[in-house]
Symmetry: C2
């Protein structure tokens, strides 16, 4: 990856509890555009939820597939590569394995992304487009690396501490 | 992480293009429960979209925050730790940097997750709960590691090739 930043992207999300397992998450795009949207998550009844909204994994995978698709569509135009009938699929797997404290821990087991499209462009040009779109997809680039995730915890309105 | 699988999670997502930059993604939970849900993504007008739906990053971050919250709520019950007024925030940053082919490539610049809650339990118990929830959150565990992401490409109904 090369050095200089062309532009930045920054989001702030804030979730509150509503209902048994329903969460309402307000997402604020801060940079490079400003827009605020609230989305709700829930779980099915047999998991203790009330099934009032899609699950977190539905959102997560929609974000991944939607980001890959958007990147391919936008870059095809910018690179003047003919493209139609784009379909993107994703199979995602996780294992839940034993944990010393909680009921289990999550072990991600990989993603398989299938891209299906119609194009009059040479196959090599299409492959270059897909490779560039993979590098540019904010979600896929995030999944491809081990990310720096910091946590702070504040109990009973006390001081926030790193955890 | 320890070895044996307690249960598996498997999703299949399929996205189609609808409108200028709108995508409709059908998410099918296959294991351990079965449910199908279609969610739409779009982009704002200045990005070439029609603003008919949240962006992929809205979905992605709702998935992350919703998954962390759900895990904390479910595990608090299972571990019998008193908990109320849970709020989870997340600041997420990316840089777009130069790319040899496309307009830019994405460089994820980290996540800061803030957890705010009320509890009568000892602070150490709450910290153990948060640590276990981080390990168990399917989305956070995915972001914390470099994932295996395979791609296949099929042009003009030809043979699918790895890309």
């Amino acid at each position: 990856m090369s050095g200089e930043s062309i532009f930045n992207v920054e989001f702030r999300s804030d979730g509150v509890c509503v209902g048994k397992l329903r969460n309402e998450v307000t997402n604020e795009a801060l940079i490079p555009f400003k827009v605020t949207r609230t989305l709700a998550t829930d779980e099915g009844r047999f998991q203790g939820g009330e099934d009032t909204a899609p699950t977190p994994l539905d959102y997560f995978l929609t974000g991944l597939v939607g980001c890959v698709m958007t990147q391919i569509r936008v870059f095809a135009k910018k690179l003047a590569i003919d493209l139609s009938d784009l379909e993107v699929g994703c199979s995602a797997k996780w294992d839940a394995v034993a944990d010393p404290v909680g009921p289990y821990q999550a072990r991600p087991a990989g993603f398989e992304i299938s891209i299906d499209l119609t194009s009059d462009a040479p196959a090599d040009k299409v492959k270059d487009l897909i490779a560039a779109s993979k590098r540019a997809c904010f979600v896929e680039a995030t999944l491809a690396q081990a990310n720096d995730i910091k946590h702070s915890l504040r109990i009973n309105d006390g001081e926030a501490v790193s955890v």
